[in-house]
C-alpha cells in the first residue's frame, strides 16, 4: 500500500482547502462563537457565526491545525453559509455519519459538496477527530444558541 494510499485521504481538493482555507480569520460581525480543542494534539479551533432570523448568514474559523482539520473547517464554511439553522444541523449530522463510515442519503452527500470528499477519512480512524473538530464546534454553538433562545 505505502504512501500511495495517502491520496485517498489527501485528495487535491483537501490539500487546496488546507493550503488556501476559505473564511479563515476573524468575523467582526459574528453573533456567536465557540472554541473547541482537539485533546489528542492540542489544536484549537474557534468557529464564529453570524446568525440572523434562524439562518447562518456568515461563518468563519480561526486557529491552526493539521491538513484534515483545516480543510474540513474550510469546507464546512462553504457548505453551511446561507443555510437555515435546522438544515445546517441536519447536514452536520450527515457529515458526522459520513466520516464515521455510515451510509448517508445521496442527496445529502450532494449537498455536502467538497466536504463529502473528506468522508474517506473513515478509512483512517485515527483522523476522524481531526475532520470532526470544526463541525462539532458549530454543532455545540448551535446547541447553546438554541438553549439560550428557549430561556429568553
Amino acid at each position: 500500500m505505502g504512501l500511495s494510499s495517502l491520496n485517498h485521504l489527501y485528495r487535491e481538493v483537501v490539500l487546496d482547502h488546507s493550503q488556501h482555507p476559505r473564511h479563515h480569520g476573524a468575523l467582526p460581525a459574528a453573533t456567536d462563537h465557540l472554541e473547541l480543542r482537539n485533546p489528542t494534539c492540542g489544536d484549537v479551533i474557534d468557529v464564529q457565526a453570524q446568525i440572523k432570523d434562524g439562518v447562518i448568514t456568515d461563518l468563519a474559523f480561526d486557529g491552526s491545525g493539521c491538513t484534515i482539520s483545516q480543510a474540513s473547517a474550510s469546507m464546512m464554511t462553504t457548505v453551511l453559509i446561507g443555510q437555515p439553522v435546522d438544515h445546517a444541523r441536519e447536514l452536520i449530522l450527515n457529515f458526522s455519519n459520513l466520516i464515521t463510515g455510515k451510509e448517508i442519503d445521496a442527496k445529502m452527500e450532494d449537498e455536502l459538496e467538497d466536504a463529502a470528499v473528506i468522508g474517506s477519512v473513515a478509512e483512517f480512524p485515527t483522523r476522524i477527530k481531526c475532520a470532526a473538530l470544526a463541525w462539532h464546534a458549530l454543532d455545540e454553538l448551535l446547541d447553546k444558541k438554541g438553549a439560550a433562545a428557549k430561556d429568553d
Binding site: 500500500m1 505505502g2 504512501l3 494534539c41 491538513t67 485515527t126
Partner: protein
C-alpha cells in the same frame, strides 16, 4: 546480523507483521513497549495453574499465588537496588505512584508559602498532581527552565531550589526532549535545603540501570508496561521512614491490620498501600519482564540503544526541513526522538508514516506546558527499544523523506 539485541526479536511475534501492506516498524516504545513470549506465557501459566487471591487463603493455590506475587516484589526491589522489599509498593502505573506521593505525602509536608519545584520538560502526571497540592496548601509551583539544547538548566535549578522548597519532582528521562536528567545532583540539592526528591522513572527504568540508593531519591515511580510487562501494573519506591509516615491513599480490604466499628489499623509496609485485590498477574508478569531484561543485561540494553541513537540521530538531522527537539549530540540523547517536518502538522506526518508501516506517536505527549515552552502545538516522536534495528531506523528516515515529498507535491 542486525536483528535487535541478542536476536531478541524472535521473542516478540507482534513485530513480525505487515501494517498497511508494509512490514511493521514499531517506534512508539515511549508510549508502551511490546511484550515478549516469556512474559505472555508467565501470565498464562499463572492463570492456568495458580490463580487465587493473595494474602488470604489457607489453600494451596492461594499460597502459590501469594508466593509468586511476593517473589516478583523481590525482583522489582533488586531491579532498582531498593534496600528492602518493604520499600516497594505495587501501583497501577507511574501516574498512580506520583499521585499517591503528591496527595498522601505532599499534602503532609507542604504548607502555606512553601515551594514545589518541577521542570519544563515534565509529563502531565508529574505536573497536575503537584498543581493540586499547591492549590490546596497555598504553595507555589516552580519550573526549572531548559537550556537552548533542551537539557535541564542546572544553574537555574540551583537558584530555584531553596529553603522554601519542600518537594523537587523531576523525570529521570524525558518523554519528549530525549534527555537524562541529573537526578543524583538534584537530590543532593533538594536534601541540602531540607526538601524531598521524587523521580518519575517511567522513561528511565526500562532503558538503564537504576539504583535508587545511589540516586538517593526519596521516592521513585515507574510503570511495567513501558518495560515489557502488561498495562495496569507499576511500582513506587519510597524510603522506609517516609513510607511509614505517609498515609495510605486508598482504604479497604488487604491493607488493614484490624477493623473496629469506628476505626482501623493498617498492615505493615508495603501492604498498607495495597488496598483491594491487587493486579496479581500483572505483578507476576512484571517480575517475568525484569527476568527478561536482566538476562539481556541493562548495561547491554543501554549500550545497544546508544548505538542506535548514534546511528539514527545524525541521519534525522540531515533531513532538510526536519526539526529534532532536544540535544543534537547523540551522546546526550536517548532513543526518544521528537521532531517536526517543515510546516506539516505532526498528525499528517504520522498518518503518512503509518501508511509506510511505521508506528510513531504524534501529539502533545502529555506535555502541554513543554509544547508551550517550545512554541509548537504538537510534535511527532519516534522512540526506540532494544528490539529495534538500524534497518528500521533507515526505514524511518526514508519514510520521512517520502512523506515530505508527498506533501510538497501533493502526490506520489
Amino acid at each position: 546480523m542486525d536483528n535487535g539485541l541478542n536476536n531478541s526479536r524472535k521473542d516478540f511475534p507482534i513485530l513480525d507483521q505487515t501494517v498497511n501492506d508494509e512490514p511493521l516498524v514499531y517506534l512508539d516504545n515511549a508510549a508502551t513497549t511490546q511484550k515478549p513470549n516469556q512474559v505472555l506465557q508467565e501470565i498464562m501459566r499463572y492463570y492456568q495453574n495458580d490463580n487465587a487471591n493473595v494474602h488470604r487463603g489457607v489453600h494451596t493455590l492461594a499460597e502459590r499465588a501469594t508466593t509468586s506475587y511476593e517473589a516478583a516484589r523481590d525482583k522489582v526491589a533488586a531491579f532498582i537496588n531498593a534496600p528492602s522489599r518493604k520499600c516497594v509498593v505495587y501501583t497501577r502505573s507511574t501516574t498512580e505512584g506520583l499521585n499517591w506521593v503528591a496527595s498522601s505525602f505532599g499534602n503532609l509536608v507542604v504548607n502555606e508559602g512553601d515551594e514545589i519545584v518541577i521542570s519544563e520538560l515534565e509529563h502531565h502526571s508529574n505536573i497536575v498532581p503537584w498543581q493540586q497540592v499547591a492549590a490546596k496548601q497555598h504553595a507555589t509551583l516552580k519550573y526549572i527552565p531548559l537550556t537552548a539544547d533542551g537539557e535541564l538548566d542546572m544553574v537555574s535549578a540551583r537558584q530555584l531550589i531553596t529553603d522554601q522548597t519542600k518537594i523537587v519532582s523531576i523525570a529521570q528521562a524525558a518523554n519528549v526532549m530525549g534527555v537524562v536528567n541529573q537526578i543524583k545532583e538534584l537530590a543532593q540539592l533538594a536534601h541540602q535545603h531540607g526538601a524531598y526528591m521524587i523521580a518519575d522513572g517511567a522513561q528511565a527504568a526500562p532503558h538503564m540501570r537504576v539504583d535508587v540508593q545511589d540516586l538517593d531519591v526519596d521516592f521513585y515511580a515507574f510503570s511495567g508496561h513501558k518495560m515489557l510487562a502488561p498495562t495496569g501494573i507499576g511500582a513506587l519506591y519510597g524510603k522506609e521512614d517516609l513510607l511509614e509516615k505517609m498515609p495510605p491513599a486508598q482504604f479497604g480490604g488487604e491493607m488493614i491490620d484490624f477493623v473496629h466499628h469506628q476505626s482501623a489499623s493498617w498492615k505493615e509496609l508495603p501492604w498498607k498501600f495495597e488496598a483491594g485485590t491487587p493486579n496479581i498477574s500483572g505483578a507476576i508478569a512484571l517480575g517475568s519482564a525484569i527476568d527478561y531484561l536482566n538476562q539481556l543485561g541493562m548495561a547491554n540494553i543501554e549500550a545497544y540503544e546508544q548505538d542506535l541513537v548514534d546511528y539514527t540521530l545524525p541521519k534525522l538531522l540531515e533531513i532538510e526541513g526536519l526539526t529534532v527537539y532536544g540535544p543534537h549530540d547523540p551522546a546526550k540523547h536517548t532513543g526518544v526522538m521528537a521532531f517536526n517536518l517543515d510546516n506539516l502538522h505532526p498528525h499528517d506526518v504520522a498518518t503518512g508514516l503509518d501508511m509506510e508501516g511505521i508506528a510513531v506517536r504524534a501529539g502533545h505527549h502529555c506535555a502541554q506546558p513543554l509544547m508551550e515552552y517550545l512554541d509548537v502545538s504538537a510534535t511527532a516522536r519516534a522512540s526506540f527499544y532494544f528490539y529495534n534495528t538500524k534497518a528500521e531506523a533507515d526505514r524511518l528516515v526514508n519514510a520521512i523523506e517520502a512523506v515530505k515529498e508527498f506533501f510538497n507535491h501533493g502526490t506520489v
